[in-house]
């Protein structure tokens, strides 16, 4: 009998770490193809209207220019589900920065120069990019992102609020934020006969494949997407954006492999972003500090061309008990770029509002914010009535309080001054759902007679550590050391699988691998007397339906603690210490998992203090479109961050007990920091980011 291995739980170094630190890991734009041409897109300089004409005469005379594409000559596409992907199919313009043309040339320098030489004339129509609560045309979408109900209501919220001894009524706002992975979106597209091969920066090669199949009316087996390494994504590389289509078109027209990378500036218009949110929260509580009512009403924007409805109130349906409750989502359809997924869509902005409100409500009730949350802990999911498969929010709060030294905290705001620095601390809860993917997910395993296992699955590692975690899962499933396992991912020629999104990758892919292992063990025992035959064995496992998902409410939880220092004279906010304690099921690799939590919280700090895309109403453009003007956290902004987790065994979520950890880290950080800023200064900032001006005067 083979010894049982214990790769799961071991802090393995990232498998591709050596490739990444030596520069040999190849990202999309870096695959070496012969005879490549370069495409450079041209963006509209109006927010709404149509292109009257494009004068290409000067561009066409530049040596090295191969083609100029526009709506006048672009190949006709098949029907696409996302109207933003109908690239160059019409002269109409739906948002500032939409692609209106592209130049393909022998070099990047020539393409870019020629793109600047196009003379484009527009017919400009009035545009409307103003997100306001008093708009008459706010509408209720059919569903919100994540396929949730748009609104929920139970009990009598208004009556409960009217009679509550304690209540709050507050509006919280979060700005537009852009994902900004360090690798800009990039694609190389190459046609050969009737097939197209793409090296693409994508969170899901299969997802990109589906879109190209539809747009170019090709059979699946004629579209090959290759993405071994992806330079960050955070949601914006989940689905194809216009440049992906444009690259394939450009390669089709020029009959050359074509490289296309967005500039950093372009990414602020054509690659998705988090919508700004306006969130109205009302809460009522009885004298004992138990909530009697919660209402969370959300307004966000969507694009005229394509709907996206951020589900910012959805977590409020499950976080706290209250007999009377309501959540709503309304949209303003504007002439803006298309909002999309950004790390924890829904929860990240939604929990800033809810967890800020919980802090305000605790103060209103005269309770400690941790005690207040514990007092409102639900026994079952308050809206679905289902039991939780596991819910350890209280354990996270208590463990966090112990580690943070919460009992030493003076609850009085603006009570602690060190030199010219006001010092304060705050807490907030985190949560993220356990999604079950609807995408078919298969893992094919081959074992040779020497006991080497090769796992093939079209999974994605966008920096999450998926390749490493899956190797560990496979090693334990096959009961061999990790050195005997090779996991191949990031290629549509592998068995199809869901992409990386919704924190469900490891759970989905891992479950398919476990299923393959079960089949392999059965096959070995039944047909081969337990011995691997000389030719080896190959089996395919799959991710089946999880009937438990109908019987249980499945979520991860966490508690985040922040210590902040606010300069009394300048309003500068520093965050010397953050602590996150999570209950997120089984942790496969503590080293890479810690990095995931750290990364999420770092992005959460960035959301709290730095990030804001400014909409210029006059032009309908996000104007601060580079790293000099769109600030993200940099090294000196980050102090000490401690990460811990509760040992959680959840047999219901999947056979591995994995819940997913890619997103929960960003959820709650901004509220913890805002609550700490209130504690330090006595100033409640309900409008992110918390900039100096909001703390002065």
């Amino acid at each position: 009998m083979k010894p049982l291995t214990h790769a799961i739980g071991a802090p393995l170094d990232r498998i591709e770490g050596r490739e990444k630190v030596t520069g040999s890991a190849l990202y999309a734009y870096e695959h070496q193809l012969k005879n490549v041409a370069y495409a450079f897109p041209v963006q509209s300089t109006i927010a709404r209207g149509r292109v009257i004409s494009i004068d290409t005469s000067r561009a066409q005379t530049i040596p090295g220019v191969l083609a100029v594409l526009s709506a006048a000559n672009a190949p006709r596409l098949g029907p696409v589900d996302d109207a933003d992907l109908a690239v160059l199919q019409s002269t109409e313009i739906a948002y500032y920065g939409q692609f209106v043309a592209a130049v393909i040339a022998e070099s990047l320098e020539i393409a870019r120069y020629a793109a600047e030489c196009l003379v484009i004339s527009y017919e400009e129509w009035p545009h409307d990019v103003d997100l306001q609560t008093d708009r008459k045309d706010l509408y209720k979408p059919a569903r919100v992102n994540g396929d949730y109900e748009t609104d929920t209501e139970s009990g009598d919220v208004e009556a409960a609020l009217a009679s509550a001894p304690f209540s709050i009524d507050c509006v919280y706002t979060t700005p537009a934020e852009h994902n900004n992975p360090l690798e800009t979106h990039a694609t190389i597209a190459a046609w050969h006969d009737n097939e197209v091969t793409m090296y693409d920066a994508t969170q899901g090669a299969g997802w990109t494949q589906d879109i190209i199949v539809k747009a170019f009316k090709l059979p699946h087996e004629h579209v090959h997407i290759i993405a071994p390494h992806v330079g960050g994504a955070f949601g914006c590389k989940a689905f194809a954006h216009p440049h992906t289509i444009l690259a394939v078109m450009a390669a089709q027209v020029t009959r050359r492999p074509v490289k296309l990378a967005l500039t950093r500036q372009m990414m602020f218009a054509v690659a998705g972003y988090r919508t700004p949110t306006i969130q109205h929260i009302r809460m009522g509580a009885a004298k004992d500090g138990r909530l009697t009512a919660i209402a969370h009403d959300v307004i966000t924007q969507t694009a005229r061309i394509q709907e996206f409805a951020e589900q910012a109130a959805v977590q409020t349906r499950t976080m706290y008990a209250a007999p009377n409750r309501r959540t709503t989502h309304r949209l303003a359809r504007l002439d803006v770029p298309v909002p999309a997924w950004m790390r924890a869509p829904g929860e990240a902005p939604g929990m800033f509002a809810l967890e800020s409100a919980m802090d305000e409500m605790a103060l209103a009730c005269g309770l400690d914010p941790i005690e207040f949350r514990i007092r409102n802990e639900p026994e079952i999911d308050p809206e679905t009535g289902l039991p939780y498969s596991s819910r350890n929010l209280v354990a996270c709060l208590r463990e966090g309080a112990r580690r943070f030294g919460w009992d030493r905290r003076n609850p009085r705001p603006r009570a602690h001054l060190e030199g010219r620095w006001l010092v304060g601390s705050g807490v907030a809860a985190s949560t993220y759902p356990v999604f079950q993917t609807p995408d078919p997910t298969h893992a094919r395993v081959h074992v040779d007679h020497e006991g080497n296992y090769t796992v093939r699955i079209d999974a994605a590692d966008i920096g999450t550590g998926a390749r490493t975690a899956l190797t560990q899962i496979a090693a334990d499933a096959f009961e061999v050391p990790v050195e005997c396992v090779c996991v191949e991912i990031g290629n549509t020629n592998l068995p199809p699988a869901t992409g990386a999104g919704g924190s469900r990758g490891t759970a989905s892919w891992g479950t398919a691998i476990v299923d393959a292992a079960n089949k392999l063990h059965a096959c070995l025992a039944d047909e081969h007397n337990g011995l691997i035959p000389p030719a080896g064995i190959e089996v395919t496992g799959e991710l089946g339906e999880n009937p438990e998902a109908q019987r249980f409410s499945m979520h991860s939880f966490g508690a985040q603690f922040a210590e902040v220092r606010v300069n009394a004279d300048t309003g500068e906010v520093r965050v010397p210490y953050l602590l996150g304690v999570f209950a997120a099921g089984r942790i496969i690799n503590p080293k890479t998992a810690r990095s995931q939590f750290l990364g999420g919280m770092t992005m959460g700090l960035s959301m709290a203090l730095d990030e804001e895309s400014y909409m210029d109403q006059r032009f309908g453009d996000y104007v601060n479109h580079d790293f000099a003007s769109y600030h993200i956290a940099s090294d000196p902004d980050i102090g000490t961050i401690d990460i811990a987790w509760i040992d959680e065994h959840d047999p219901h979520v999947n056979p591995l007990g994995v819940k997913g950890i890619g997103e929960i880290g960003i959820v709650g950080t901004a509220a913890a920091i805002a609550n700490a800023v209130y504690h330090a200064t006595g100033i409640r900032v309900r409008d992110l980011p918390i900039t100096l001006d909001k703390l002065l005067g």
Binding site: R18, K20, V21, G23, G599
Partner: protein, 173 residues
Amino acid sequence: MEIAITLQVNGVDHELTLDTRTTLLDALREHLGITGPKKGCDHGQCGACTILLDGRRVYSCLALAVAHQGSRITTIEGLARDGHLHPLQQAFIEHDALQCGYCTPGQICSAVGMLREAEDGWPSVVSIDLNETHPALSDDEIRERMNGNLCRCGAYANIVPAIAEVAQKEGQR
């Protein structure tokens, strides 16, 4: 306009004919297939393209290739010797100071340059004594000196200890 030049990269001379507008970054990536240096912004704002030019760290997206004939160019590919990783490369792996890895070559080249700057007595904005000939690299010094290299995955809290460990071994802490 095109011009013939020779670039010395990681100890090897490469003869090239380049558009004069070509940046050093694009020359490396698009003409020589040396893709360790990354393009994250092309504007000197993210640091992913950091290389060593005659031993000093620079943003290669802000340098024109034709201006650097005769320079010693070192990229991330040139740091390992005889299959042995540079101590910073090893420390980045062990501390998991990377996630997607796209900023990593720039971070490591930048750290190599940064350690040398400190050794040469260069102060930073957080240095207390500007005349100190061998400034000690506290965590705050490392954070400040690495400020020009962004990491969107948020690995800073692992990058600083990775660099600190190497600085410690080299007597710079």
